[in-house]
Every structure is written in structure tokens, then in C-alpha cells.
């Protein structure tokens, strides 16, 4: 097989992918979850007409809050008995709730600046990002010297290995269910949001407000209140993504942990045409490269294709999500249309 000049390695390449599909799919989903949640935050917010660049800062803050609340909860309540499925403990739950609250508070700030003060929404988002980096970095440095005990993390569901071997769809089932609770919840949230946005009254009102708030107001929709509610709710979504980083994927906080995931989420939202399912798909696409790199590192086959893959510098793989983002952004954005009133502050007419 390897003797066939060009075709040989290509066939090996696909063989390698098929071989590793369960692993790659699984790892892709795990890595894409925070970005997907950030993208969902963006979708909800921007469909209502408010640009939210600050979701990176919200994620980072939520990640930190989740970790630190876990630390405090463990210190006060003890580590707790993990449940059999998902390994849930009380400190972890408290950490999760605290993270969600922190995200909603930051989102409320952004909403206040953007909606009530009518400030430039991009600047408002940048402020939140800088504040998040500063605050979490500051607190992290202040606390880091004591290396406190964290609350651990949620476990993933124990999927029996035979499931992965089911032909054709085994890898898919494995990828979806061999994850922790937040990840699995996210997959459901994506579907639910899609339905909510396009099949319910709330969704219709939201989209109306994002396309033509003036017209929506004349029909009696309270544009300001709807925008506030949606932005704050979207903050919870981004916060979920941040919490995932410190209480499901890993067990502690590193400075600047989010590393641009929020912005990749924005790109995923654009590529996904401002729909939840599209955004999720885009997030998966962006992180397939990351999973692929790890498959290469751990299980590269011993043939010419494997050697070629191993010789590619790791920084190239690291930069792939960002590179793909740019390429798709440049190619797609002309055809991917945002909500018409996205980013424009809304002024109420003379109050009735």
C-alpha cells in the first residue's frame, strides 16, 4: 500500500482518521464545549441586537469564580461525597451556581453600558475583558502562593467501551455521552435554544428586536427589557463555558485560561449564521484540528504518513483553530448576515 506514490499516503491518512475517530470525536466535543457555549451566548445576545465582545471576560471570570468558590466551599463544608454518576458534590454545585451568577452580573454591567448608557458596545466589551484579566490575574496572584485545595471536577459518564465499537454510529454516541454533565447539558441546550429561537414567541420577539426594534416597539414589545433579560441570560451561558474549564475539564485555574476561546466563539457564531446549531457545528470544526493533533502525538501510525504528520511543528496545530477562523470568516461573512439592528444602540421614542 505504501508503495503507491501519491495515493498511498492519502489512503493511510484516511485510514488513520477512521481508526482514531472515536478518540478524535470525543476530544473534539470536549474541547469545543466552552467555545460552543460562548458562541451560544453571542447568538442570544446578538439576535437581540447587542454585540457582546465581553464574553471572553465573562468566561474567564466565571472560570475563576468557579474555582475559588469551590476552594472556599471545600474549606467550609469539606470535600463531600461524590455521586456515582458525574461525581457531583455540594461544593461543585455551589461553585457552578456562583460562576453562573458572576457571569450574569458581568453581563448585566455590559447591558447597562450598552443599553442604558448607549456606549459603544465593542468598547464596553473590551472593558469587561480587560477588567476580567486584571481582576482574575490579581486575585490569582494574591492567592496562588497558598496553593489551596480545590473542589475537584465533575466526572464524565462511564460509557462502556463496547458502545464505541458499534459500527457506523458508535463513535457518535460515544462522543456525545462520554462527557461530563456540563458538556452533555450543552448539547441539549444547543437543540433547545434552536427550538426556542425559531419556534416560540420569545424567539420571535427576540429576533424582531434584533432586526427592527422600532417596529417591535410599536407592536408593544418592551425592547429595553427584552434586551436586558436576554443579555443577562446569555451571560449565564458564557459563564457555564467558563465554569466548564475549571470544574469539568481541569481542576484548577491558570492565569488567562480562556486563551481566546471567547473570540473563537464569536467567530463560530458568525460562521454558524447566528444560529445555535450552526454555531455548535462551527465550534466542532475549529477544534477538530486540536483533537487531530493529539491523536497524532499519541497514536501516529508507523508509516510515511505518520512520520509526515509527526514532523509538523506543534505550533502549527496550535494555530489551526485561529487560522481556520480567519479563513472561514473571510470567505463566509459576506454571505452570513447579522441581525439588522445588531450593535446599534436603541433610543426609545417619547414614552407613552
Amino acid at each position: 500500500m505504501t508503495d503507491i506514490p501519491v495515493l498511498g499516503p492519502i489512503i493511510q491518512f484516511f485510514q488513520f482518521i477512521l481508526d482514531q475517530l472515536p478518540f478524535i470525536a470525543d476530544a473534539t466535543v470536549a474541547a469545543a464545549i466552552p467555545v460552543a457555549l460562548a458562541a451560544l451566548c453571542g447568538v442570544v445576545s446578538e439576535r437581540s441586537g447587542v454585540v457582546n465582545i465581553g464574553l471572553e471576560g465573562i468566561m474567564l471570570t466565571a472560570a475563576f469564580v468557579a474555582w475559588i468558590t469551590g476552594v472556599v466551599a471545600v474549606a467550609l463544608l469539606g470535600p463531600g461525597e461524590p455521586t456515582a454518576i458525574f461525581g457531583i458534590t455540594l461544593p461543585l454545585l455551589i461553585a457552578l451556581v456562583a460562576a453562573l451568577l458572576s457571569g450574569m452580573i458581568l453581563a448585566a454591567l455590559h447591558a447597562y453600558l450598552s443599553i442604558s448608557l448607549r456606549a459603544d458596545q465593542i468598547i464596553s466589551g473590551v472593558i469587561i475583558n480587560i477588567a476580567a484579566v486584571g481582576l482574575t490575574g490579581y486575585l490569582n496572584t494574591a492567592i496562588a502562593t497558598s496553593s489551596p485545595q480545590g473542589a475537584g471536577s465533575f466526572d464524565s459518564l462511564n460509557v462502556p467501551t463496547q458502545i464505541a465499537d458499534i459500527p457506523v454510529i458508535g463513535w457518535l454516541i460515544n462522543a456525545i455521552f462520554d462527557q461530563g454533565p456540563i458538556a452533555i447539558a450543552t448539547i441539549f441546550i444547543v437543540i433547545i435554544l434552536q427550538i426556542l429561537l425559531f419556534r416560540t414567541k420569545w424567539g420571535l420577539r427576540t429576533r424582531a428586536v434584533g432586526e427592527h426594534p422600532r417596529a417591535a416597539e410599536t407592536v408593544g414589545i418592551n425592547v429595553i427589557r427584552l434586551r436586558y433579560r436576554n443579555v443577562i441570560a446569555s451571560g449565564a451561558l458564557a459563564a457555564l463555558g467558563g465554569a466548564y474549564l475549571t470544574i469539568e475539564l481541569t481542576t484548577s485555574f491558570q492565569a488567562n485560561m480562556t486563551n481566546g476561546r471567547g473570540f473563537i466563539g464569536l467567530a463560530a457564531m458568525i460562521v454558524g449564521r447566528w444560529t445555535p446549531i450552526g454555531a455548535f457545528g462551527a465550534a466542532l470544526l475549529f477544534f477538530s484540528a486540536d483533537a487531530f493533533q493529539r491523536a497524532v502525538k499519541f497514536a501516529a501510525p508507523d508509516n510515511t504518513m505518520g512520520q509526515f504528520l509527526e514532523s509538523i511543528p506543534p505550533q502549527f496545530y496550535d494555530s489551526l483553530p485561529y487560522l481556520i477562523t480567519i479563513i472561514i470568516l473571510a470567505g463566509v461573512v459576506g454571505r452570513s448576515v447579522p441581525p439588522a439592528a445588531d450593535g446599534q444602540p436603541y433610543e426609545r421614542e417619547a414614552a407613552a
Partner: protein
């Protein structure tokens, strides 16, 4: 001289006109109708009023931010194991900050050293703002400018200072300019919003830098990935312990940018495109060309800053090289309201904060990330200008960020034809 377009119409409409005609918020030039014998006192007063109305809000934001920072310091002073709430810590921290920045000769030089890259990058970002573009890519452009400077500096080793420095600096500018060109071209031709593309390019630039330093540029026999040191290309020290040539270049850039923006056709076109791209196109300007040019200049300045920094301070680059200049420069540009003079002062302020931060951490034990927090709070107060104006009853004070009219605040391609 153009006034900032940041005043929010809704707020100014409710401001009562002040007694002094020279302070009316909507008057941009200073020609108050003058009686033939205006006294020196009254003339000075009107200048004073204008200066006050321009700096009042930024000053207020800074003071408030310091207070908030002080509160944060007090609240977190108990976090270190074995410590307790320390009410005097903010004063110790801020006095250490002062000592490290403006209170000592070394500190003053350090302030200038830290301010120089902020000034250069800030000027570029401010120019981009005038065109309605948001260049967040300063970080990546800085990295690549620094890498190019070192690479060429090492290559030109042995050719004497003049050639080596010139070559390295030009390389830095080209590298930064290229990294600004990319998002500019993407925006102009495909409408891809520069906020996202520049942030992506930041990451790619970082990986590129790491790859180059760990690979082709690596100093052989060195255990850590680091480049070779530059000798000929190292910038001469002009004053103090580390006041290098880059400082002069930074200060020289300020009048150049002022001239470009206010006296040159290009500057006028940039401002026109920023104010109303459709009108500009109707008048015969080419928005696409201007977008690309502006982003390239912004990238060039950031690359220049990176090159000068690494040639003047470190003389060598490890793979772990990192900087916050890219993001701090955004705050500098916003605080200076995209005006070259304002940017100069804002850069000096943040240079002082940077220079003093290390001292603050060493002497008072307050983590230097507080500076980032102060930045964010300053910006926050600037954005909340209407609220501040009401709370502190400031009349006729210009300022706040208003809407910087980032061209196509949405992501659509309709803005560019």
C-alpha cells in the same frame, strides 16, 4: 483642529449653556467673539477653561480609579496567609508606585522607557480609530516586529551600528505593517470584522514567534529556546540607566502624527472615511484603499514599538517573550481620545503605572495585575461619562468616549463596497 466626535448629542442637549462663551461644548475652535481690549486675565482664563474641560473627565476617571483600586487593595489585603485587613496598604502601595515611577531618577527614566512603546502603538491605534477601525492586533504586530528586528539584527551583526540598527528597525516596521495589512485587506475585500481577525492574528503571531525562536532563530547550544543576542543593532543608551533611542523616536512620532492627521490630505481622508464612509466614497475617496493603508500604518507602529523595545531593552528574545503593550495601548488611545497629544500624555501615565508596578509588588506586596484593573476602571468611568457628569455636576466638560463610531459595528460587508 477637529474636536472629538465623542460628545453624545442626547446629553449635551440637556447641559445648560455656561456663562463663559468659550466653554460652550459645541464650539470647537477657540475664536470667542473678542472685544478689542480683552484683558490678559480673561484670555488666560479662557485657555484655562478649555484645558480644564478637556482634561477634567480623564482626570476624574483616573482619581476615581485610584480610589477603587485602593478599596480593592484593602479588601484583598487579608488574602495572604497570616495577613489581616490592612487599611494603610493602599497608601503604601501607591507610594511605592510613585517611588518606582516619577519619584526617583531611575523611576523617571523607567517611565519613559515603558511609555515609548505605548506611545508608538497608541498613535497607530488612534489613527485607526479615526478611520473607524478597531486594531486589537497590536500584540501580534508587536511580537512579529520584535522577532523581525532581532532576526535582522543578528544577521547584520558586524556591519556597524548604523547599518544594523537601521536594518533591524526597518524590518520591524515591515513585519508589523504586514501583520496590519492582512486584517485591513480582509476587511476591505471581504468585510471580515477586524476585531475578530486581529485577535486571531494575535494568537497566530505568538505561535509563529515561538516556532521561529525555538527553530530557525534559536541560539545553538542554548538549553532554553532563545535567539542570539544583538550587539551592533542594540540601541544606544541616551540617558539614565536604560533610556534608549526608542524614547526619542516615540516622542518624535507625536508631532508627525499630529501633522499627518490635521494637515495632510491623507489625514483628512482618514477622518472622512471614519465619519461617513458613504459620503467619503461619494467625494471620490477610496474607502478600501484607506482602510488597508490605515491598518497597515497601525500595524507598522506596533511592530516598530516591538522592535525598538527588544533592541533597546532586552537585546535578545526568549520564546517566552510576552507583553501587554498591545492591549494597554488601546486604553491609551481611548484615554487620549485618538488625539496625538492626548495619546502622548496617556502613554506617559500608563508608562508611569507600568514602571511603578514592579516596585509596588516588591515593596508593598500588591500584585502588579492591579494595573490592569486600574486600566479597566478608568475606561469604565470614561464610558460612564454622562453618569459622572450628572453626579459631579460638571458643566461644559467634553469627554467620555461616546461612540467611537467603529465602522460597521456589525460584522456585515455592506459597509464596504
Amino acid at each position: 483642529m477637529t474636536d472629538d466626535k465623542g460628545t453624545q448629542p442626547t446629553v449635551d442637549a440637556t447641559d445648560k449653556p455656561t456663562a463663559e462663551p468659550a466653554v460652550a461644548p459645541t464650539s470647537s475652535t477657540s475664536e470667542a467673539p473678542e472685544a478689542p481690549n480683552r484683558s490678559l486675565g480673561s484670555r488666560l482664563r479662557s485657555i484655562g477653561n478649555q484645558v480644564w474641560s478637556a482634561v477634567a473627565l480623564p482626570l476624574l476617571a483616573i482619581v476615581l480609579a485610584l480610589i477603587v483600586g485602593g478599596i480593592v487593595i484593602i479588601l484583598t489585603s487579608a488574602l495572604k496567609p497570616g495577613a489581616s485587613i490592612d487599611l494603610t496598604l493602599p497608601f503604601k502601595a501607591y507610594s511605592a508606585l510613585w517611588d518606582g515611577s516619577l519619584g526617583s531618577p531611575n523611576g523617571r527614566v523607567s517611565t519613559l522607557v515603558q511609555a515609548a512603546p505605548l506611545m508608538l502603538t497608541g498613535l497607530g491605534i488612534g489613527l485607526a480609530f479615526k478611520a473607524g477601525l478597531f486594531n486589537i492586533g497590536g500584540e501580534g504586530q508587536f511580537y512579529l516586529g520584535a522577532t523581525a528586528a532581532i532576526a535582522v539584527g543578528v544577521a547584520l551583526e558586524g556591519t556597524g551600528s548604523l547599518v544594523a540598527i537601521t536594518g533591524a528597525v526597518i524590518a520591524a516596521m515591515i513585519a508589523g505593517g504586514a501583520w496590519g495589512f492582512i486584517p485591513g485587506a480582509l476587511k476591505a475585500f471581504s468585510g471580515a470584522h477586524e476585531v475578530v481577525t486581529t485577535i486571531m492574528l494575535n494568537f497566530i503571531a505568538k505561535f509563529l514567534m515561538v516556532y521561529l525562536i525555538a527553530g530557525p532563530l534559536k541560539l545553538p547550544l542554548s538549553p532554553q529556546p532563545v535567539t542570539a543576542p544583538v550587539n551592533d543593532a542594540a540601541l544606544p543608551i541616551l540617558f539614565g540607566r536604560d533610556g534608549h533611542l526608542g524614547i526619542l523616536i516615540a516622542f518624535a512620532a507625536v508631532p508627525i502624527f499630529w501633522f499627518l492627521l490635521n494637515k495632510m490630505t491623507l489625514g483628512f481622508e482618514i477622518r472622512a472615511v471614519g465619519a461617513n464612509p458613504d459620503a467619503a466614497r461619494y467625494a471620490g475617496m477610496k474607502p478600501r484603499r484607506l482602510i488597508i493603508l490605515t491598518m497597515s500604518i497601525a500595524g507598522l507602529m506596533a511592530g516598530l514599538a516591538g522592535g525598538l523595545n527588544v533592541l533597546g531593552i532586552n537585546h535578545q528574545m526568549p520564546a517566552s517573550f510576552s507583553t501587554t503593550v498591545g492591549f494597554t495601548a488601546i486604553t491609551v488611545a481611548l484615554l487620549g481620545r485618538s488625539n496625538p497629544i492626548g495619546i502622548m500624555f496617556a502613554a506617559l501615565l500608563f508608562g508611569a503605572l507600568s514602571a511603578g508596578a514592579l516596585n509596588m509588588q516588591t515593596v508593598a506586596g500588591v500584585p502588579r495585575e492591579l494595573i490592569a484593573l486600574l486600566q479597566a476602571v478608568i475606561l469604565l468611568f470614561l464610558v460612564m461619562a454622562p453618569v459622572l457628569r450628572r453626579v459631579f455636576r460638571l458643566r461644559g466638560v467634553k469627554g467620555g468616549l461616546g461612540t467611537t463610531d467603529t465602522m460597521s459595528r456589525t460584522y456585515g460587508a455592506e459597509a464596504i463596497k
